[in-house]
């Protein structure tokens, strides 16, 4: 099995793994649908449609795996370029941190912190410009949505 995987091009290998994960989720989804209750074909309950959808998903996951073993996909790089990996990971981490901190620090502070961190991360050399751009992004966008556009967003410990 491992030998087959190693011989496959990277894109096929990735799609095979995705098909495998899809199959596991589809099976779990189908079993959960069955537990919700199917009813009869003439008198369906809430689980009936997801159950059928789950069965189709299982078949499509298997076909996706079969296709990954046989198909020649368009060329394309899979791996993130080594010199960009750090930036990509740190940016992704900053987005996750923003969503977590939002509940504790509120919109203005969180968006400004995120702005400062990512502006610096993406290559701004000057700290003054970093703070001006970062805080500017956070404050202006938050005000635009919370003020004129009337969107309700989380407020932090200071009430804003």
């Amino acid at each position: 099995m491992l030998g087959v995987l190693q011989r496959l091009p990277a894109k096929n290998r990735g799609r095979l793994i995705i098909a495998g994960i899809g199959l596991l989720v589809a099976v779990d989804y189908t079993v959960a649908s069955y537990k919700i209750g199917l009813g009869t074909l003439a008198n369906t309950k809430a689980g009936m449609f997801p159950f059928f959808a789950g069965l189709v998903w299982i078949v499509i996951s298997i076909l996706t795996g079969v296709e990954a073993l046989n198909h020649k996909y368009a060329d394309g790089s899979i791996a993130t370029p080594r010199d960009r990996l750090r930036v990509v990971l740190l940016f992704a981490l900053a987005v996750v941190a923003m969503t977590v901190l939002l509940a504790f620090l509120g919109q203005y502070i969180t968006a400004s912190l995120f702005g400062v961190v990512t502006v610096r991360l993406l290559g701004e050399k000057s700290w003054i410009k970093t703070f001006v751009y970062g805080v500017g992004i956070g404050v202006v966008l938050s005000y635009l949505f919370m003020g004129p556009l009337g969107v309700i967003l989380p407020t932090g410990p200071f009430g804003w």
Partner: protein, 516 residues
């Protein structure tokens, strides 16, 4: 005709004109900027439209759709970078025109083409939409099931790439649509004990995640982002007499081709622009110049993709079935406004129906009047550094997801969909069928269960009407013919058509142009 006049009466109100203006501006911005795209852009606007009237809200979303296509083509011409898949064709002759100092003329030809396509589309919609609505009044659950499920399968199959590239995400979309309270029995499904999950998974965080957030990571990975921008001067905006004359026939040909594609399931904007380009290669007097900066190569395809956007309104408004991710967002906004799209919309809410159709037309006029003088602004935006642009997009995405229902679950859905979208797109899966599957899932389920109840559990009911039978035969032919031909040929196809991969499409078209 009466409906069109009524639509003009509705649309020419300060609120709707303002909505069309903001929509066109925001749409062009979204199309010009890398990283958002029309679907995520329209999805981000949905929460902001709740305070507007239904017609104004839909007008804004329709204008975003039109504006984003124009914006996407602007980057094709000025940077050789298509903002949308439907703008790929514009890179070939549009960028060549820009290199010859005719960028302004190319943008004008595109804008006038959009206006002409809008006019042709409006005339055709006024004929087709009531016809569709009248026919669909006779539809039963089996017909709606065939239309929604069959249309979704065709969209998934035609979205590009291999057979499973659209079908696999389609099933994820349908599965996500079943999360939350069952509309018929009130039973909670797949909520994991979170009461907020009972409301279901909304389209906005999913669309923004799989299109917007994942695109940010792709932009970060790509060192080549931010190519040279060819800035046109104001005096170059006016095409020459010869350019006007050569654009006229392609505009009309493209408009008709686009409208027909718009009525069908599949990525109609992309398909119609490719079809129009092929048409020009076949019939144009200047076909030898195509690929070297011929005005026909931009006039026809641009008119086609705009006309397709208007044609696609027909199945959305008269049947309630969207065949593209952006139109799925529009359906979602309609439902949020308490409007049920479908055949009764034309009779029960004619003001909404005709108001939106005419507003889309007015949006095209606004694109013509506003966007050409604003070309300098778009060029400046194209020159914005990534370090300012990407944080802005990320912050707006999170605000859009949270602001929808003031729920952190939507923010976590956004993150999860961002990761899922990145991984699936990395391996060439198409996201359109996931988004449309999420929107069509409830409609498919409703008609599936209604059909089973009406037929006392007989599955043969779903092919019992001539319409449903024909739809399923067509779906089977499209799906299995491609599936088997792929397996037999081991994926060595070289036909001209959208593959779903923008770069690959561009290579194919360029190769074809070079051949000619």
């Amino acid at each position: 005709m009466h409906g069109v006049l009524e639509g003009f009466q509705t649309a020419i109100s300060p609120q709707l004109l303002l909505a069309a203006f903001i929509g066109c501006f925001a749409g062009t911005l979204v199309g010009v900027l890398p990283g958002i795209g029309s679907t995520a852009g329209a999805a981000l606007v949905v929460p902001l439209t709740y305070t507007l009237s239904p017609t104004a809200s839909l007008t804004m979303i329709a204008s975003i759709y039109a504006g984003s296509m124009y914006g996407g083509s602007t980057t094709s011409v000025l940077m050789n970078m298509p903002g949308e898949a439907s703008s790929v064709v514009a890179t070939i002759d549009g960028y060549q025109m820009a290199r010859k100092g005719r960028a302004g003329a190319a943008l004008s030809v595109m804008a006038v083409g959009s206006f002409i396509a809008g006019t042709v589309g409006l005339i055709l919609v006024s004929g087709f939409a009531p016809l569709f609505a009248n026919v669909s009044l006779k539809f039963g659950p089996q017909d709606y099931f065939a239309l929604a499920a069959g249309g979704l399968v065709v969209l998934a199959r035609m979205s590009g790439g291999s057979a499973m590239s659209g079908l696999f995400p389609m099933m994820i979309g349908i599965a996500l649509a079943t999360v939350g309270q069952d509309a018929i029995s009130g039973t909670n499904r797949f909520t994991f004990g979170h009461y907020q999950m009972a409301l279901g998974i909304d389209l906005v965080p999913v669309a923004v995640g799989v299109y917007g957030l994942s695109e940010l990571i792709f932009l970060l990975e790509d060192k080549t982002t931010g190519g040279k921008v060819i800035a046109p001067k104001m005096r170059e905006l006016w095409p020459t007499r010869q350019e006007w004359r050569r654009s006229f026939a392609p505009w009309f040909r493209g408009s008709f081709i686009g409208f027909i594609f718009g009525l069908l399931p599949g990525p109609s904007g992309t398909l119609s622009s490719f079809a129009s380009y092929r048409m020009e290669r076949a019939v144009s007097k200047h076909r030898d110049e195509l690929g070297t900066g011929a005005v026909e190569g931009i006039a026809g395809p641009e008119a086609a993709n705009n006309s397709a956007a208007i044609g696609a309104l027909v199945p959305v408004m008269s049947l309630g079935v969207p065949f593209s991710a952006t139109l799925a967002v529009m359906i979602s906004a309609m439902i949020a406004q308490g409007i049920t799209p479908g055949p009764l919309l034309v009779t029960q809410h004619p003001d909404v129906f005709w108001g939106v159709v005419v507003a889309m037309y007015i949006g095209n006029v606004m694109l013509l009047v506003l966007n050409l003088p604003l070309v300098g602004i778009w060029v400046s935006i194209l020159r914005l550094p990534q370090r300012v642009l990407l944080p802005c997009i990320a912050v707006v995405s999170v605000i859009g997801a949270y602001g929808l229902r003031e729920s952190y679950i939507d923010v976590y859905v956004l993150l999860a969909c961002g990761v899922m979208g990145y991984v699936l797109r990395k391996f060439d899966f198409s996201m359109a069928s996931l988004v449309v599957g999420l929107v069509l899932g409830p409609l498919i389920e409703k008609n599936f269960r209604e059909g089973l109840t009406l037929s006392h559990g007989s599955m043969s009911y779903f092919v019992s009407s001539p319409f449903s039978l024909v739809v399923w035969i067509v779906v089977a032919l499209l799906v299995f013919w491609k599936l088997f031909s792929r397996f037999f040929r081991k994926g060595k196809g070289t036909s001209i058509g959208p593959t779903g991969d923008v770069e690959r499409d561009a290579e194919i078209i360029e190769a074809a142009a070079a051949d000619s």
